[in-house]
Amino acid sequence: MIRDFALQGLQMLVVLLLSPLLTGFVRKVKARLLRRQGPPLLQPYLDLIRLLRKDVVLAENASWLFRVTPYIVVAGTWVAASLVPTFASGLLFSWSADLIAIIALLGSARFFLALAGLDVGTSFGGIGSSREVMIASLAEPAMLMIVFTLALIAGSTQLSTMAAYMVSGEGGLRVSLGLALLALIIVAIAENARVPVDNPATHLELTMVHEAMVLEYSGRHLALIELSAALKLLLYISLVGCLFAPWGIAGPDSSLQALAVGVVIYIAKLALGGLLLAVFETAIAKMRVFRVPAFLGAALMLGLLATLLMFVSRSL
C-alpha cells in the first residue's frame, strides 16, 4: 500500500518536474534548427523561479475569480497529467478517472482560463477567450471521437487497460488506429497552442490566442499558468506515447529495476516527441485564425471516420 502511494506520488512529481524541461528542450531544438544558440535547456525552470519571486501586479478591476483561476488551472492539469500512465501503469488512483474524465478535466481548466481572460474587461482578453473557446469547440469533440475509437478497439476507456491492450499486440495494425493517431496529433497541436494553430512565442496582437487570454497575468500567477501549459504539453506527448508506443511502461507490481527502465524509456519518448514537435513547428507556417476550423474539422472527420469503421467492422 505504501509502495502504491509512493509510486503515485512519484508519478505526480515526475510530471511536474519534467514538464519545464520538455518545454526547454523543444525551444532549444527549435533554436538549433534555425541556427540560433537558443536559451539554456534549464531556462524554463529559471523563468518559473524568477516569476514566482516577483510581486503580482493585479489589474484594478480583477475579481477573486482571476486570482483563483491559476490554482484551479494548475491543479486540474496536474491531476490530469498524473493520471496518464507515464513510466508505470496501473497506479493506485489510475481508475479514479478514465480518458474521458481526463479530457474533461482539461476542459475545466480551459473553462476557467477563458473566464479569467474576460475578467479584467480588456479587448485582448476577450479576443483570446473567444478564439480559445472556438478552437476548443472543435478540438474537444475531435478528441472524444479519438477516445471512442481507441476505447472500442481496446474495449475500455481506462488508460491503463488501453495501454496494456495496445502493448499486447492483440489489436494489430488497423486503419482506424492510423486515422486516430493523425487526428490526435492535430488535436494535440491545437490544444497546446503550437504552430500552426497558435504561436507560444509570439506577442504580436493579431496572431495570439492563448497568450492574449493570459495577457493580464503576472508574477506567481503567470508562473502557474506557464507551468500548466508545460504540463499540458507533457500530458499530450505522454498520451500519444502510452497509446501508440506503449512499450517499456512498467506494469502493476513490477520490480524497481523495471520501474527504472520505465523512467528511462519514458524520458526517451518525451525527447522523441519534443524533437518531432520542434521539427514540425519549424517546418510549417502559422495559419490564419479562420483556417484553424478547417484544420480541426479534418481531425473531427478523421476521428468520426475511425469510430464509424469500428462500428462497421471489428477488424478495420
Binding site: S96, A101, G121
Partner: protein, 674 residues
Amino acid sequence: MMVVYALYGVAALMALAPIAIALSTAPRGANAATGVVYGACLIVTLTLGVIALLSLFEYSQSPSVVTLPLGLPWLGAHFRIDALAAFFLVVVNLGGAAASLFAVGYGRHEHSPQRVLPFYPAYLAAMNIVVMADDAFSFLVSWEFMSLTSWALVVSHHQLRENLRAGYVYLLMASFGTLALLLSFGLLAGADGNYAFDTIRASHPTAALAALVLVLTVVGAGSKAGVVPLHAWLPLAHPAAPSHVSALMSGVMTKVAVYGFIRIVFDLLGPPAWWWSMVVLAVGGITAVMGVLYALMQHDLKRLLAYHTVENIGIIYIGLGLALAFKAEGMPLAAALALTAGLFHVFNHSVFKSLLFFGAGAVLNATGERDMEHLGGLIHRMPQTAFVFLVGCAAISALPPLNGFVSEWLTFQAILLSPQLPSWGLKFLVPAVGALLALSAALAAACFVKAFGVSFLGRARTPAAANAKETDSNSLAAMYFLAALCLVAGIVPSFFIDALAPVTKSLVGVSMPHQAGVEWLSIVPIAESRSSYNGLLVFIFVLLSGSIAAFAIHRLASDKLRRGPAWDCGYPDPSPATQYTASSFAQPIRRVYGTTVFHAREIGEMPPPGATAPARLTVELRDLIWDAAYAPVAGAIGYAAEKLNSLQFLTIRQYLSLVFTALVLLLLVLAIWQ
C-alpha cells in the same frame, strides 16, 4: 396509500389558488400574500417530495393505486405511483420547493402579484397530477391544465407586446402537442375506449399502429419538451414568465414532458421495434446541437438559458434512444445503463437549470436587465449570486467533478456499448449521434463562458449594472441549496444511480449493478477494467493539489500583491464599451457554424474617408427552421382565413344550403365507405 397522501398534497396546492386570489387582491396584503402562498407551496412540495422519495425507495415493488369518482363516469380518475412516477415526482417537487423558496424573496419584487400568485400553486399541482395520472383521460386533462396554468404565468407581464406574442405562440404549440397526444392515446385505447393505463398496457398494438403512436408521441411530448423543430415556443415563453416560473418551466415542466414520452413509449406501447430508437436518436442529436448553437447566438440571458434547455432535452433523448435500441435488441444491461444516464440527466438538468434561472432572476431584479450587453462586472456587486451562478455554469458545461459530467459520461459509456447492436442503421447513426453529443458538450462550455463572462465579469456596461445590489437571503438560500446539490450529485453519484435502479428495473427489466458498495464510492457501469469514474477522488485531488500549490507558493516564494491599471498591451481604454460583448465573443463561433446553420452575414458600412459618420457592423441571422416550417404554415393559415372570411357574411339561405350540402356530402362519403 402513498398516492392518497400525495393527492392530499395536490388538493392542498389547488386550495391555495383561491386563497391566493383572496389574499393578493386584499388592499396592502400583497406582500404578506407572497410570503404566505410561497411559504405554503414550499411546505407542501417538500412534503410531496418526501412522499415521492419514500415511494421510490420503499414501495416501488408494489405501485400504490387509487381510483376517484371524478372525470368520465364509467372510468373514474385513476392515480398511481410506481417507480417511474415516484422519480419524476421527486424531480417535480424538488424543483417546486426550490422555486418556492426562491420566490419567497424574489416574489416581493413582483409588480402585479395577483397575476402570478393564484396560478403558481395550481401549476405545481398540475405537474404533480400529470405524473400521477393512470388513465388517458386524467393524463390529458391534467396535461392541458398544466399548459393553461403555465400560459397564464407566461402572460402575467402582459404589458410587453413580446410576452403576449410568446403566450400566443405557446398556446398554439401546446394545443398542437396535446392534439398529437390525444390522437396517440386514442390509437392506444382502441375502438372500445379502454382509457385506463392498465388495460392499455395489457393490449398489444399492431406494428403499424405502434409506429403511428410513436411518431405522435414524439411530436406531442416533444413539443412540450422542446425538441427541434418543435422548440419554437420555448425560447419565447420560458423567459417571458417571472424567473422562478421560468425555472419551473425549463427545469421541471420539460421533464414532465419527458415523463410523458417515457410512460407511453417504454411502458404502454409494448416491446419496441429497433427502428424506433433511430427516430429518437436522430431527434435527440439534432436537438442537442441546434439548441446550443441557437443559445450561443443569444444575448438575452434568460433566452440563452431557455435555448440551452433545448440542448439538454436533446441529451436526454439521446440517452432514451439508446435505451430503446438496447431494449429492442435484447441487451437489458446496456439498456439500463443508457436509461440511467438519461434519467440522471433529467435530475441534473432540473437542478442546474433551476439554479441558473434563479441567478438570471436575481440579476434581473438587481439591474432590471436581461440583455447581457447591458450587464458586466456583477461579480463585484453580487459576489454570492456570481459564485452560485458559476457553479451552475460549470455543472451544465459538464465539467468534472460536478453532476452534469457524470450523466454525460454515462451516456458516452452507453454509446461505447452500441457497436454490439446488430442493425446497420444504428451502426451508422450511433457514432454520428455520439459526435453530435460531443460537439454539443464542447459548445455548451463555450456558451457558458460567454454567459458568465459577459454578464458577471469585466466592467459594468451600464449604470444599472454598476449599482446592482446583492439579492435577498431567501433567494440566495435556494441557489446555495441547488449549487450544493450539483456538487453532491457530482462527487457521490453512486447513491443517485442506485436510487434510479427501481425505475430502470420496472422499464427494462434489470438495473445497473449496485454502485454504493464499490470501494471509494467509484461508479463502475460495467466492469472496473472497462471504465470507472470517481468524482469524489477527482474533487479531492484537484482541491489538494490546488491548495498545496497555493500554500507552497505563498510560503516559499512570494505572497505580495499590488493593484495597478490593466496592462492590455499598453493601451488600456477606460471606456467599458471597448470590452468584448456577447456578440463579439460569439463571433468566431458564428463564423464557423453560423454561416451554414443560420445563414449568418456580417454587413460592414464604412463611411468614406473624411466623413464623420460612424462605421457600422450589422449581423444578420436567419432562423431557418422558423422560415421553413413555421412561416409557411402561418402564411397558409392566414391565407385560408382571408379567403374564408367571406363565409362570415352570408345570408340565412346560403348558410342553410351550406349545411345541407355538407350533410349530403358526408352521407355520400359514408355510403361509399361502406
